[in-house]
Amino acid sequence: MKIILTTSSASLDSEVDPRFGRGAYLLVVNTETLEWQAYPNPGASAPGGAGIQAAQFVADQKVGAVLSGDFGPHAFNALQAAGVPMYVYNEVRTAREAIEHFKAGQLQQLDAPTRRGDCDHGHHG
């Protein structure tokens, strides 16, 4: 299965990045072969709507699941609309560990956003 996870650098042995919208890299991985390709997260430096940008990227990649530490309400709604199941990191440290835990069914699937959005209380303009 092709999945995407948020990582802090462009490698399978990178530490995972707990942030979805603003995580540094989106790592596209084939869970059987462990072939991977890293893309800079288009949301990472967005002034607003980071989660939506990242979700748009994930939806366009047509993956079977997305793994991260934190999905805000916008990202959650967007990924749910796209039909991509979301899983949250447990105590994993690296992308490789996260994939193992995912394959072993040890990561929890989300049915609600993990937090309120930044936009709900932030200062935009």
Binding site: Q53, A59, H74, A81, A82, C119, G122, H124, G125
Partner: protein
């Protein structure tokens, strides 16, 4: 003439000064100055000028609504949106109203004409007479709405002065878009600061807005006890006149906390504020 009162740092005394300036000038001007509370995220000038609101209007922007029957999910709308307020995810097109700036690009550029615009209310504007016959208007952003600028813009367009009427704008704190929206178009920017490193740091940012918008400005130092030469040095270097210093005084703090204005607490300040205004008008061409 439009005079805006801003500060950068919050809690320096913008509203204290704007309201007392309005009251000090009310007797001198016919009609009295128009007071606009542009701090739509947390308006508080009404606590001091005690207006009776007689008119009220909902304000907001137009946001897209997608007709799924016509939408081909081509993604053009998501591509042109600078704010990521619309996303095409597989066979669904989602709108995120809180990110939408109401620019209309998605509607204009949808090749299938599948998008129409619907109003999204984000706040209210209100006006009515206040103390000393001062016409008062304010905007108020709804709780949970992230964008103040549309409310400020619509307040300024709605509460127009009579010909020749002086306008006082109480500007929000900070130096982001709402501040620019409230300051833009004014003839003079009165910067309220305090002699602290935080006050000076944010004064520098606020002074940059004045310079960028090419608006002449001057400074009032509030809670001006003790010596803080860095502030005076900055003002001298920038050519910012210090128009008034208000001391840090328990009687003022107690009075303001009870909803009294500075000129009610210390009537002699009415003269000081009139002198500040005379200095400002004398400095303008």
């Amino acid at each position: 003439m439009i005079l805006a009162v801003a500060s950068g740092k919050g809690g320096t005394g913008k509203t204290t000064i704007a309201t007392s300036l309005a009251l000090s000038l009310a007797a001198e001007f016919t009609p009295p100055p128009l007071f606009l509370d542009c701090d739509v995220e947390a308006p508080n000038a009404h606590l001091f000028l005690k207006p009776t609101f007689e008119q009220r209007q909902d304000v907001g922007i137009l946001i897209p609504r997608v007709d799924e029957a016509k939408c081909t999910h081509c993604g053009k709308c998501a591509e042109v949106c600078q704010y990521h307020a619309i996303a095409v995810l597989g066979k669904k097109t989602l709108v995120f109203p809180q990110l939408c700036h109401g620019c209309g690009s998605c509607t204009a550029l949808c090749p299938e004409h599948a998008i129409t615009e619907i109003p999204d209310v984000m706040g209210v504007i209100e006006r009515g007479p206040a103390a000393s016959g001062i016409p008062f208007a304010r905007g108020m952003l709804d709780v949970g709405e992230p964008m103040a600028v549309p409310v400020i813009r619509q307040l300024l367009a709605w509460a127009q002065p009579e010909p020749g009427q002086l306008v006082l704008r109480d500007v929000p704190p900070g130096t982001s878009c709402p501040v620019v929206a409230a300051v833009r178009g004014s003839d003079y920017l009165l910067l309220v600061t305090e002699p602290t490193p935080f006050g000076l740091h944010d004064l520098k940012l606020a002074a940059q807005i004045a310079r960028e918008l090419d608006i002449p400005s001057g400074v009032i130092v509030n809670r001006a006890n003790g010596s803080y030469p860095e502030l005076d040095d900055f003002c001298a270097a920038e050519g910012l006149p210090i128009l008034l210093r208000i001391p840090f005084e328990r009687a003022i703090a107690e009075g303001v906390a009870q909803g009294r204005t500075l000129v009610e607490i210390h009537p002699e300040y009415a003269d000081y504020f009139r002198q500040v205004f005379a200095q400002i008008t004398a400095s303008l061409p």
